[in-house]
Symmetry: C2
Subunit: 387 residues, 2 copies
C-alpha cells in the first residue's frame, strides 16, 4: 500500500513537473534544417528547453505563432504543415497539404493559418485549432496554376500574396474564411519572387526577378492599383551572378527609410518611403541575404550569400556607415532580434551553433548547440503584422 501511494505520488509529481507553469513571451524556435527538427528555446536564460522531431523537410522552412504564443505553425518545403506545442514540446497536429510550399501566414484574429504553395500553386486555409482545411484559393490565371509567394496578413482580416508565374498581386478578404473574396491586381510585375508588408500593414512590396524594380500596393488606396518603384535600380550595370535570392521578409524599416538587399549586388539599397525613391546605396561585403533593422531602427544588420556567408555587417542608420563587421561563425543563415533589440541571435549552420550577441557592445552572450540551424523565430512575432 505504501508502495502504491509512493507510486501515485511519483506519477503525479512527474505529471505536475511536466506542466510547470511558465510564460510563453520569451520562447523561441530554432529550425534544424537537415534533421527535420526544431529546438524550443528560452530566450531569457538562453537555454534549450527541448527538441521536437518529425517535421519533414525543413530546408526552407518558415513559421508563424498563435496569438497566445503557445503554438508554432511550421511550413515545410515538402508541403508539410505542423502545429507544435512549445509548452509540451510535441507535435499537436500535422498534415501534408501540398507538394511544395514556401511559407504561410496567420489571420490577424488567429483563427486561421494559410499556406502559400509552389506545387500545386495557390493558397490553402486551415483552422488554427485543428488544421482542418477551410478554404482554398487556386492561383489560376488563363488556366495556368501559379506559384504563390510573399504571403502576408494585412489589417482588416485580409491576406495579400504574389503569383510568381502570372506576375500578379492578389488581396483576399477573409472576413468569412470559408468564402474568401479576392481582388486581383494584374500586371504587377514580372516574376515576383518574394513580398512583405510594412510594419503598419499599409504597403505591400514585391521584389521582381523578371525586371529591374519592385511592385508596390498601397492598401489604403486600392483604386490606384499597383505601381512600380525603383525602376532600373541596377540598370546600366552588368548583373552579377546571384548566389542566393535575398529574403524580402528580411527587408527593414527604420524611420522613414526602408533598407533592402540589392539582388546580386554588393549593396544595401535605402528607399525613402515618402516618395518610394532611392535615397542611398551602401556598399557591403557581399551579396546581402537578410537586411534586418534592430527593432528601434537605429541599426541594420546584414548577412551574405556565398562566399561571404561567414560575415555580418552592422549599419548605423543615421550615418549609413558600417560600424561593425563580425565573423561569428560559419554559414550565417538567419538573424533574429529580441523584441526590444537588446540582443540578436544568429544561426551558424556549419558550426552547428546559434550565437547570441549584444547589439550595443557586440559581445558574445551565449552559444547554443543546434543541428544545422537555419531560421530563428521568437514568439514576440505573434503580435507583429506580417510576421
Amino acid at each position: 500500500m505504501k508502495r502504491l501511494a509512493a507510486l501515485v505520488l511519483f506519477l503525479f509529481l512527474s505529471a505536475c513537473a511536466g506542466l510547470e507553469p511558465r510564460g510563453t513571451g520569451d520562447l523561441g524556435i530554432i529550425i534544424e534544417r537537415a534533421t527535420g527538427s526544431v529546438l524550443v528555446v528560452d530566450t531569457t536564460k538562453r537555454a534549450i528547453l527541448g527538441r521536437i522531431e518529425g517535421l519533414g523537410d525543413l530546408s526552407h522552412a518558415s513559421m508563424v505563432f498563435s496569438r497566445d504564443q503557445r503554438y508554432a505553425y511550421i511550413f515545410g518545403r515538402d508541403g508539410g504543415l505542423s502545429k507544435v506545442d512549445l509548452l509540451e514540446r510535441r507535435i499537436a497536429a500535422r498534415i501534408v497539404q501540398a507538394g511544395n510550399s514556401i511559407g504561410g501566414a496567420i489571420g490577424p484574429k488567429g483563427d486561421w493559418v494559410a499556406a502559400a504553395n509552389y506545387e500545386p500553386g495557390g493558397v490553402k486555409f486551415f483552422d488554427a485549432a485543428s488544421l482542418a482545411q477551410l478554404a482554398e484559393i487556386p492561383a489560376l490565371v488563363d488556366g495556368k496554376a501559379s506559384k504563390v509567394i510573399g504571403i502576408a496578413e494585412a489589417p482588416g482580416n485580409r491576406l495579400v500574396f504574389s503569383l510568381y508565374d502570372a506576375g500578379e498581386i492578389w488581396l483576399a478578404d477573409m472576413t468569412d474564411v470559408k468564402t474568401p473574396w479576392v481582388r486581383k491586381f494584374k500586371q504587377a510585375g514580372q516574376l515576383p519572387y518574394d513580398g512583405l508588408i510594412t510594419y503598419d500593414g499599409r504597403h505591400y512590396l514585391a521584389g521582381l526577378f523578371g525586371e529591374d524594380g519592385l511592385a508596390l500596393l498601397d492598401l489604403w488606396n486600392l483604386e490606384a492599383g499597383t505601381k512600380k518603384i525603383m525602376p532600373g535600380y541596377g540598370k546600366g550595370q552588368e548583373p552579377l551572378p546571384v548566389y542566393k535570392m535575398p529574403h524580402l521578409r528580411g527587408w527593414s524599416q527604420a524611420g522613414d527609410e526602408m533598407f533592402l538587399p540589392a539582388i546580386g549586388r554588393h549593396e544595401v539599397l535605402v528607399v525613402d518611403r515618402r516618395g518610394w525613391k532611392e535615397a542611398a546605396r551602401i556598399p557591403v561585403a557581399g551579396q546581402p541575404v537578410f537586411v534586418i533593422a534592430r527593432p528601434d531602427g537605429r541599426q541594420v544588420w546584414v548577412n551574405f550569400a556565398l562566399p561571404n556567408n561567414g560575415l555580418i555587417q552592422v549599419i548605423d542608420v543615421p550615418t549609413r556607415q558600417i560600424v561593425k563587421t563580425l565573423k561569428p561563425g560559419k554559414a550565417i543563415l538567419h538573424l533574429e532580434f529580441a523584441s526590444k533589440g537588446t540582443e540578436v541571435w544568429v544561426s551558424a549552420r556549419d558550426d552547428d551553433q546559434v550565437i547570441a550577441l549584444d547589439t550595443e557592445t557586440f559581445a558574445e552572450l551565449a552559444r547554443i548547440p543546434a543541428q544545422k540551424p537555419s531560421g530563428i523565430f521568437f514568439t514576440s512575432r505573434a503580435h507583429r503584422l506580417g510576421l
Copy 2:
C-alpha cells in the same frame, strides 16, 4: 492509509489542475480602481480567468509586463508596487516603495523595474525577480525634490523621465543598474506633466502644463538638447477649464503623424513628425483624454473628459474625418487594442463593464463584468518599447 493515499491524490490533482499549461500571449489585466483588485482575462475567449485582490490604491494605476508575459508589475497611486502572477493568479511579491507614485517602466532586458514617484520624488529601481531595491535616482534640483513623471524605457538599456517641478528631462544609462549614469537636460519646459517615447524609441516628448507647447528630445542626437515644438498651439485663444489632464501615453503615431490631445480644447492635434509642426486640428466631441491609434495606424480612437465621458470617436487617418461616434457605456476611462488591431476593449467604469468592439464593423463583441474598471493592459505590451 487509503484515506491518506486519496488525500495525496486529491492534493496533487488539485495542484496539477491549477497548473494546466497555457500560453500567456493573449492575456490581459483590467484594473478595478475602487477595490484595489485586478482581473486577469483571456482575450481570445474574452473571458475572466480570475481576480487578484489586495493591491492597494489603484485609482491611477499603471503597469508593465515581464518579457515572458507571465508577470505584471502594477504601480499603485499609494506607492505600492505589486508583482502579480497571471498564471497562478496571485501576488508574487509586493512592496510599498514610496508615498505617492505615478507610473513605472521595465528595463529593455526585463531585469529591473523602475517606479516614478511624486512623493518623495525621484526614481527607484527594483530587481524584477524579487523587487529588492537596486538603486535610486533622487530628483533633486537646487536641493529641491521634484515629482517624476513620463517615465519610459529607451533603447540601449536607458530610461528617460521628466521632473515636473524642475522642468527638466533626465536620461539615465542603466547598463549597470546599481550605478545609473544620468544626463540632465535643463530648462526643457515648464511643468512637464506627462511624457512618452515614440514607438521606435527615438524621440521623447513631454507635455507642458506651464507653457504652450511640448518638449522634444531626440535620443539619436543628444548634443542638440531638448527643443520646444508646437509653441503656442493654443495661443490667442481663451483657455478652457481642464476637466481631466490628457494622458500622453495615449498619444498616437500613425505613419508620419502623431495624434495628440489638446489640453482643455475640443481638438485632436495632428503633428507631422518630419518637422514637428502642426499639420491639422480635428474638432472632436469634448476634451480628449486618450487618443490612441489602432496598431496599423489607420484609425485613431478618442475618449473624453466630463461631461462627454460616455462617448468614443473614431478618426479615419487619411481623411482626418470622424467616421464613427460610439456611446458604449458610462464613464469610458481607457481603451486597449488587440495587438493586430482587430478589436478594442473599452472600460465603462460606471457600468461596471469592459466592452469589446470590432474595429472594422464597430459591432459589440462581448461585455465583461468588472468592478469600476479603469486601465486595460494586454500582455502584447511586453514587446513594445515604452509600454
